[in-house]
């Protein structure tokens, strides 16, 4: 996938590769690559109060992968936003 077509080239390709990865071991690697890329990007944005759209896109991507980690990798969840 060409980075030129991505709105957020610093992390979006890693996200798409992660959510499309069927193999469990490769999925762990892809998620780690995505999270590392996002962390580096968040550190870049830490002194910048703009980029609201990108911050929201990151939050959405992170939430999506939280579900993937829980369902496909059996990560323990923390019952966030669950209703009784």
């Amino acid at each position: 996938m060409s980075d030129e077509k991505l709105k957020y080239p610093k992390w979006e390709a890693q996200f798409q590769e992660a959510i499309l990865e069927p193999d469990r071991e490769s999925l762990i690697e892809k998620i780690q690559e995505f999270e590392a890329a996002v962390f580096v990007r968040l550190q870049e944005l830490s002194s910048d109060h703009d980029h609201h759209d990108e911050r929201q896109a990151i939050a959405d991507a992170v939430s999506t992968l939280r579900v993937v980690k829980k369902d496909k990798l059996s990560y323990p969840d923390w019952k966030l936003n669950e209703t009784p």
Partner: protein, 133 residues
């Protein structure tokens, strides 16, 4: 005899910290931030269970925890650590910070929840503030 030069700008001299995060890249960046500030030991673990075991061995001055980790997440680890070390500051450093996580974290014994949008230098500053209490 070689004299040990201590940089007064490195506030973490002599301190120990355990960094718990399942992502090796993020863990290394956190460890480097603490070591650059003069922390003596930065123990690293990649899940909450290993983090608790490591903390038992080195009895750190501070622990930072990721939230989403395999085997044992950050809230579960915080609860165990708080029972073992009632006075050791615990920082939850997470991509999932919001009011719900904050409330659960405080219940688990976390002293401070910081988003991973927080600059690493600010994380280290908060660590000093908590250790210095």
């Amino acid at each position: 005899m070689k004299r040990l030069e201590i940089d007064p700008k490195k506030h973490g001299v002599g301190r120990t910290v355990v960094v718990v995060d399942d992502n090796p890249t993020i863990r290394k960046m956190l460890a480097q931030a603490f070591l650059s500030d003069g922390f003596k030991i930065c123990g690293e673990a990649d899940n909450g269970k290993e983090g608790v075991a490591l903390a038992k061995r080195i009895k750190p001055d501070l622990v930072t925890l990721d939230l989403s980790m395999p085997v044992m997440n950050g809230l579960e680890a915080a609860s165990e650590l708080r029972n073992l070390f009632p006075k050791t500051p615990i920082i939850l450093f997470t991509m999932y910070g919001d009011d719900v996580v904050n409330d659960e974290a405080i219940k688990a014994g976390v002293n401070l929840v910081l988003s991973k949008t927080t600059a690493l230098s600010t994380l280290v500053d908060h660590a000093h503030a908590l250790i210095g209490r």
